[in-house]
């Protein structure tokens, strides 16, 4: 399969294009996604290729976007709405939680919502206030939703295509900070990366480090650093699907290493790390040689950008977390 070196945002753009070429039910809607190609250029060139009916600039109304997406999906389309920044999904929260997540249940399978809500998320991007939330918990705490976050270009395209194929509604969280951070070979053709499967992205035997999305690069850096500075062998897992997440891969690794660190950008308090730590505690307690450590943003509102680097975990803080479990 031939490929090209793409950034994450280019990979997502390529994924959208592939999906739309393959399945004419797929349509995009959202604010500024058409003529403007999206504020991050995720939908660049798609209006030109697929026309106004399939790439739709909508009014500025998130509940309207999400609510009509449910209707579109229920009547045979495969909508891929874009929410401009994560905090702007909140005005449409009711549609997500009470309807999109529940329509299958509420109709005993008669109606479903095969749609993908694309949501740029996370900070450390020098963005304005309220443009850097990382509140995946809201969605991961909602049964009926699949929550996905790619951390690299290859997964960006492959997970997106799986999400669009899925019969379940998917909240697709794109780490803004990694949109243009680096390039990676991405196949030109259609391929999928399975939902619900974590990936061991670095093998190790002393400690398991679990992360995803916007924190993944810091996690890998921290793993390197821990190895170089302390000689600790760190296994790193990219969770990729945040709900329902891959217990099997996580537990197998932690049982092997006996130690776990979880790093994410969400607040610590009830961040997904809490669930992971609780489950690891339930399933692996006899194998654990130290308490599970969580490295997360502080439990304060995401700050203006000059404080961001202190607020969210960086490689240094993740190394501290590793240190803690290794020296317990």
């Amino acid at each position: 399969m031939s490929g090209r070196e793409l950034t994450l945002i280019q990979a997502i753009n390529a994924g959208l294009r592939e999906a739309m070429r393959r399945d004419e039910r797929v349509m995009l809607l959202g604010e500024d996604i058409g003529k403007n190609g999206g504020v991050f250029r995720a939908t660049e060139g798609l209006l030109e290729e697929f026309g106004e009916d399939r790439v739709v600039d909508t009014p500025l109304a998130e509940s309207g976007i999400l609510g009509t997406s449910l209707g579109l999906a229920a009547n045979g389309m495969r909508p891929v709405p874009e929410i401009q920044f994560m905090a702007f999904i909140y005005p449409g929260f009711e549609q997500v939680v009470s309807h999109i997540a529940r329509i299958r249940m509420r109709s005993r399978g008669r109606y479903t919502a095969p749609l993908v809500v694309r949501v740029p998320y996370g900070g450390r991007n020098r963005a304005p206030e309220l443009h850097s939330d990382s509140t995946e918990t809201f969605f991961a705490h909602t049964p009926g939703l699949v929550v996905v976050s790619p951390s690299r270009p290859y997964d960006g395209k492959g997970l997106l295509l799986s999400a669009i194929e899925s019969e379940d509604p998917v909240i697709f969280l794109e780490p803004m900070r990694l949109y243009r951070a680096y390039r990676e070979e991405v196949p030109d053709d259609y391929y999928t990366v399975p939902l619900g499967r974590a990936e061991v992205v670095r093998a190790g035997h002393d400690v398991t480090l679990i992360s995803w999305g916007s924190t993944m690069r810091d996690a890998l850096k921290a793993a390197e650093q821990a190895e170089q500075e302390h000689g600790w062998s760190v296994e790193v897992i990219d969770l990729r699907t945040l709900s329902p997440w891959d217990e099997e891969t996580v537990f197998a690794s932690v049982i092997r290493t006996g130690r776990a660190v979880i790093a994410h950008e969400a607040f610590g308090h009830l961040g997904l790390g809490a669930e992971l730590a609780a489950r690891i505690g339930e399933e692996c307690i006899l194998d654990l040689e130290a308490p599970v450590a969580r490295v997360a943003s502080y439990d304060v509102p995401a700050p203006l950008f000059q404080l961001e680097d202190w607020y969210a975990p960086d490689a240094g803080r993740i190394v501290e977390g590793i240190h803690k479990v290794m020296t317990f």
Binding site: G67, G71, M105, S107, R108, G109
Partner: protein, 353 residues
Amino acid sequence: MDVSYVIHPAPAADEPKPSGMDDALLVHMYEQMVWVRQFDRRLVALQRSGRIGTYPPVEGHEACQVASALALRQQDWVFPTYRDTGAMLVRGVPMERLLLYWNGRAEGLYIPEGVKVFPIAVPIATQLPHAAGVAWAARLRGLDEVALAFFGDGASSEGDFHEALNFAGVFRLPIIFFCENNQYAISVPYARQTASETIAQKAQAYGLVGKRVDGSDAIAVYQAVREALAEARQGGGATLIEALTYRYGPHTTSDDPSKYRPKEEAEAWRERDPLLRHRRRLEGWGLWDEERQQALERRVNEGIVAAIRAMEAAPPPNPDDLFDHVYAELPPRLVRQRDELRARLAQREGAER
């Protein structure tokens, strides 16, 4: 901006027959209203005797629901609220399902294939964007389908009302927004809901056509919906219909309207009873008499009794229903939980034997 007012203050006995509606339809309309009223009253009675849960009665709204449902075609969509038992019935949702639903049974959630009715909207106004989306999909797919969404006067205050009507205007969607303005949202009167003189005039904010219609007049409702349907099919976009009506009973079986509504008001509205009014017309046109009435009531009653029996004969709730429709495929965590519940119930059952 066309806001037409079609309110007849009182039933007209010597009305000419409307054009474009044949006798069979005029009679059918009445029969359906009777069916709805009987069924509705029975649901209230069942709740009172503890055989189903809380229920929001229709009584007073029959013309709104029956006539608008009849004005639609098989392929058109209906988006009901909790109060739209009447419309659901007319559209073909089996009584048994409705009974199961209000009896808290998951089986009641199922709407048979081919019946284009959406699940009851519980959170107020949230169905309006769904309806807009369904109408939009129809347009995109080149299907000749129109969506009709019911909502109340209270619902007009929610953001979702605004966003849905705005989408309908911008994308010229084939949709009918049908407001059953019964002048109260639970206890809150219209004047506390909005300072707008009418709901219909809100159409102007979205470039839509707004119409007001007497919601006690089945024929007027039918005609208003037919017009809106024709408009939608011809690409004219959406219509907002405001039907003035009144619920004769409480908001739900847990509600006590005497706390917030003067008794005389309810009595005055009773005089505009949509069933009585339509019956008088039919009688005037020689299409109805007491004999037919009695036969109808018997037939309806039998149907209802059979449906109640079916509800009560339903097998006991199945624990798997908690899990079966959460995802297309049950994820491992939920498989574990389902199996745990199955095991627990089996054990408890064993212990009880």
